[in-house]
């Protein structure tokens, strides 16, 4: 009877140990900030794309477009590349269990070119050349929001040291 009690106790302790190990593996606050930042960046990219698509869509069939087809293709193509880079950032972050120095460097290496790419879109003649001031400002603000979110991810990584 004593042996059975010990057996039951040991099995329960093993079960609790496995539970604790699973719970501990799942969360890292700094990593969550990075994940949230990437998620917010995707939302900002979605909003920016909608502004671009709306500006390229005439209010009435056959009517004038606030953003030309050529500029839409260039800006839209650049936004697609930023989305692709964010996916790479997500994939890299998914492989990380804790935000230590090597993984921090790994994410920085992925994020830096994305931030630069967004900066390049903002500085491009495709944006500066948009004739309608309201459209130009709207697109600039929407893409600037993408950069702000990416900067927040970079800040989360820097502050996690």
């Amino acid at each position: 009877m004593e042996t059975v009690r010990k057996y039951v106790l040991i099995r329960l302790l093993v079960g609790m140990f496995v539970l604790t190990a699973v719970a501990a593996k799942c969360e890292d606050k700094d990593l969550k900030k990075v994940a949230d930042g990437l998620d917010d960046t995707v939302a900002a990219l979605s909003a920016a794309q909608k502004v671009v698509i709306t500006a390229n869509t005439p209010a009435t069939p056959g009517g004038p477009k606030l953003l030309s087809d050529d500029a839409t293709i260039k800006i839209g193509g650049a936004l697609i590349r930023v989305n692709e880079a964010v996916i790479k950032g997500v994939e890299a972050t998914r492989e990380i269990a804790k935000l230590d120095e090597p993984s921090r460097q790994q994410i920085i290496k992925i994020l830096d070119p994305i931030v630069k790419a967004v900066g390049d879109i903002l500085a491009s003649p495709d944006i500066a050349g948009i004739p309608n001031e309201g459209t130009r400002t709207g697109i600039r603000i929407a893409i600037e929001a993408v950069r702000t979110n990416l900067t927040a991810v970079q800040a989360a990584i820097a502050l996690s040291k």
């Binding site: 799942c26 994940a35 998620d39 960046t41 989305n83 996916i87």
Partner: protein, 66 residues
Amino acid sequence: MDQINTALAVVNLINQTMPIGVGLILRFVGPDGTETVLNTLDRAEAGARANIDEMQAHINKIKAGQ
């Protein structure tokens, strides 16, 4: 003896299934009740892929019309 066997069977069942069940729950809800890193990353990836599809579809539409 039958009661001991039943108790052992129940303990064994709990030990074997509990970590899997809790692991699945923690995949989406963290120990403190918040969303997990993996769930957030899954949503971000799905959103980015949807963004690409949306933008690409619009670009294709423009090119088809040109």
